[in-house]
Structure formats: structure tokens, C-alpha cells
Amino acid sequence: MAKPADVTDSSWETEVLKADKPVLVDFWAPWCGPCRMVAPIVEELAEEYDGKVEFRKLNTDDNPRTAAKYGVRSIPTLLVFKQGQPVGQIIGFRPKSDLKKRLDEALA
């Protein structure tokens, strides 16, 4: 399993909204310290949920349109999408056990 791939404003619809599987999107930016701590945890989750959930990351500096559309005003923010609908939202850094719990709740 590769690391979570980048998604952009232009690839958002095909890669997230029209995805068959649930998608977790990590909203981040290079200047955000806590985002750099979330990234390796999201990579671990991507391996653990391989086949069940797609993982993407979105750079909010380069893709402000999508960030604004979902009201992202704080990063890191993780959004979980199912059939194009946001079903879960985690704002701020959380330990891995917390993220897993919240992701499982969103998938249920």
C-alpha cells in the first residue's frame, strides 16, 4: 500500500465524491506542525484499512476551493466521505487510538 496520494480541487470529484469505497481525506499544509504529526499516523491507518478505505491528502494552500467548500478553517482536519457525503470529521491532532475509534464510528 502506497502512502496516501494527493487529491486536488480538480481531482476531488472523481477521487473522493465518486469513489466506490469510503475515503478519508487529510487536510494539511506545509506550515502546520501538528499536520506533520498526523501524517505518519494516517499512513499507518492507510495500511491497516487497506482495501476497506481509500486515503487521500489535500494541501489546503494549493486547493483552497475544496477546503472552503467543506468549511475547513483549522488543520489538521480529517474528513471521511461515504458515497460523496461527509460522514465523519476530526479536527486537530489526535492520538492513533482516537483516530481509529472515530474512523470506525464513521464507517459503521
Binding site: 506550515w31 506542525g33 501538528p34 468549511g71 478553517r73 483549522s74 488543520i75 491532532f93 492520538p95 487510538s97
Partner: protein
């Protein structure tokens, strides 16, 4: 299964990281437990320019550097929350949400959490314009008007950071003068984007799906007003994370752990350092110094109380 360590450190801010460095270099088997983010409060600080020898550094980077330095000497880490410390025969049992650890000595460097305003709208709009981390969120308010609440170093530091993005930064302070250090005050007053609203408190944070305005009250005149802003950054002091030590060690009225000059608490083998202790100067350098002192003393404590 309970894992055994010489020293368990609770909290990975500058105090805990410095303690970890000293403990690991003393060749003590040492575990550092962190419930959230390495670096603690500084992980969210844009710029630190009062750590001696370092002209300027991003707080997150400084925290990571401290961790790497300590890990080089064998410091181990665990990411979970400590729920209780129980003194037992032969050491202290450190209970966490994910397993227990036995330690000959414990150094508590759990720090302090930022205070909330406790006003209507604050919790509901957190992440939607209510922020406790300017470095995380300021960029989302480019060319907008925002507010900072508080008058200390954190409020000025973060407020100045926000001016990089926002068109106007209102500083709302309940007194008529700042508590911040002179250098930060000078810089804040000289910044044309910073506007000060004195003797004023926030009564509520209003907005439908995101922050739209603040309801303010002047504490001198009693006059009420609404201030339209897109975000409010809150820096109004901190409360020590000492609830898991309740009934175990002596604390002062503000729930800070009481220590002596060696960072020893009222319980032998338990040390406290950094923002969680009483009379702390609450600086990166003093916390790091505290941590080093605690580790040196813990090392001595183990030597004199346990057979090698």
C-alpha cells in the same frame, strides 16, 4: 503485562524532553509517555526566539529536535494517556489507557492546557473560527478581520503571527495594560494591523456555521457591543494537567504540584517539572532546566534506593 523502567516521564513538552535526554544519558531505562503531541505547547508556537543559543526556531521543530536528541541516547516513547500513578512496593505503578508501567522513579511533566473562555458559542464553533492555535489556523483568514483574546506573551506572539494573514487583528483584553514581555509589547504596539480593545471581555461568540461576530462588554463602562470578525484566537492563560495526581502529591490552590528546588514532590520517587509545578516561570528554557534537574535527582534517587 507490566513493563519495567527505571524512569517514566509523563508528558513530552520541553521539561519532559529535557528530562528524557538527561535520564537516557545517565543510562537509565527511560520511557516518555505523551497523550497528544510531542513538544507540548511549543508544538503550536510559530516562533521561539528566547531559547539561549538559538536565534529563532519554529516551536514544532524545536520539540522534534529535542525528541531526536533524547532518542539518540535510547529514550523510548509511548503515545497514550496516563490515568493514575500508584506508589507500590519497589516503585510506582504508572497506569495508562493502554497498559501499565512500573518505574523506580516518575517525573511528571504533564504541563498545562490553555483555558477556555467558557462563553456561549465557544465550543460549538471550535474549528470554525474559534481557535487556540494561530499557527494552525491563521492562514484560513487571509485578508479578513479577526480577534485575539488575552494580554500575555502567548496572545501577543500569536496575534503578531495572525497579522501575516489577517487584514486587521483586534486584541481584546480585560485589563487596561498588557502582561506580555516588553519586547512583544513594543512589537504589538508598532504593528499597524493590531488594534487594542481594552477593559473588555467576550460575552458570547456568535455565528451560524462559523464565527461571524463577538458580543463584547466593557468591564468599566458596562457598555455592550458587537464586533464582526471571522475568527477568534483565545489565549487567556492555562490550567495545570494535574487531575490524575489528585490525592497523591501535595498541590497549591491553583492545582500546581508543589516541589522543592530538586523538583521533588511530597512523595519520594515522584518528581514534577515544568508548567505543572508551583512557581514555574513557564518558559521553554526554565522548563528544560527543571526537567534536567528532575532527571539528575531521579538518577541519584534510584542509585541510593535501589540495588543495581
Amino acid at each position: 503485562m507490566i513493563k519495567n523502567y527505571d524512569i517514566v516521564i509523563v508528558g513530552a513538552g520541553p521539561a519532559g524532553l529535557a528530562a528524557g535526554l538527561y535520564a537516557a544519558r545517565a543510562r537509565r531505562k527511560t520511557l516518555l509517555i505523551e497523550r497528544n503531541i510531542t513538544g507540548g505547547q511549543i508544538a503550536l508556537t510559530a516562533s521561539i526566539e528566547n531559547y539561549p543559543g538559538i536565534m529563532e526556531i519554529n516551536g514544532f521543530d524545536l520539540g522534534q529536535a529535542m525528541l531526536q536528541q533524547a532518542e539518540k541516547y535510547g529514550l523510548e516513547t509511548a503515545f497514550t494517556k496516563v490515568t493514575k500513578i500508584e506508589p507500590q512496593e519497589g516503585g510506582h505503578l504508572v497506569k495508562t489507557e493502554e497498559g501499565d508501567y512500573m518505574a523506580k522513579a516518575v517525573i511528571v511533566t504533564a504541563g498545562a492546557d490553555y483555558n477556555k473562555l467558557g462563553v456561549p458559542g465557544e465550543e460549538r464553533l471550535t474549528g470554525f473560527g474559534v481557535s487556540y492555535c494561530a499557527t494552525c489556523d491563521a492562514a484560513f483568514f487571509k485578508d479578513m478581520e479577526v480577534a485575539v483574546v488575552g494580554g500575555g506573551d502567548a496572545a501577543m506572539d500569536e496575534g503578531l503571527f495572525v497579522t501575516r494573514y489577517a487584514s486587521k487583528v483586534y486584541v481584546i483584553h480585560r485589563r487596561d495594560q498588557l502582561r506580555a514581555s516588553a519586547v512583544l509589547q513594543e512589537r504589538a504596539f508598532a504593528n499597524p494591523k493590531m488594534h487594542f480593545i481594552w477593559n473588555t471581555v467576550v460575552e458570547s461568540i456568535d455565528g451560524k456555521d462559523a464565527v461571524e461576530s463577538l458580543h463584547l462588554r466593557n468591564v468599566v463602562t458596562g457598555e455592550e457591543s458587537d464586533l464582526p470578525v471571522a475568527a477568534v484566537f483565545i489565549f487567556i492563560g492555562q490550567t495545570p494537567n494535574s487531575s490524575f495526581l489528585e490525592g497523591l502529591v501535595e498541590m497549591d490552590a491553583g492545582r500546581h504540584v508543589i516541589v522543592n528546588a530538586w523538583m521533588e514532590t511530597s512523595v519520594p520517587g515522584i518528581f514534577a517539572a515544568g508548567d505543572i509545578r508551583n512557581n514555574a516561570a513557564r518558559q521553554v528554557v526554565t522548563s528544560a532546566g527543571d526537567g534536567a534537574t528532575a532527571a539528575i535527582r531521579a538518577d541519584h534517587y534510584i542509585s541510593s534506593h535501589f540495588k543495581s
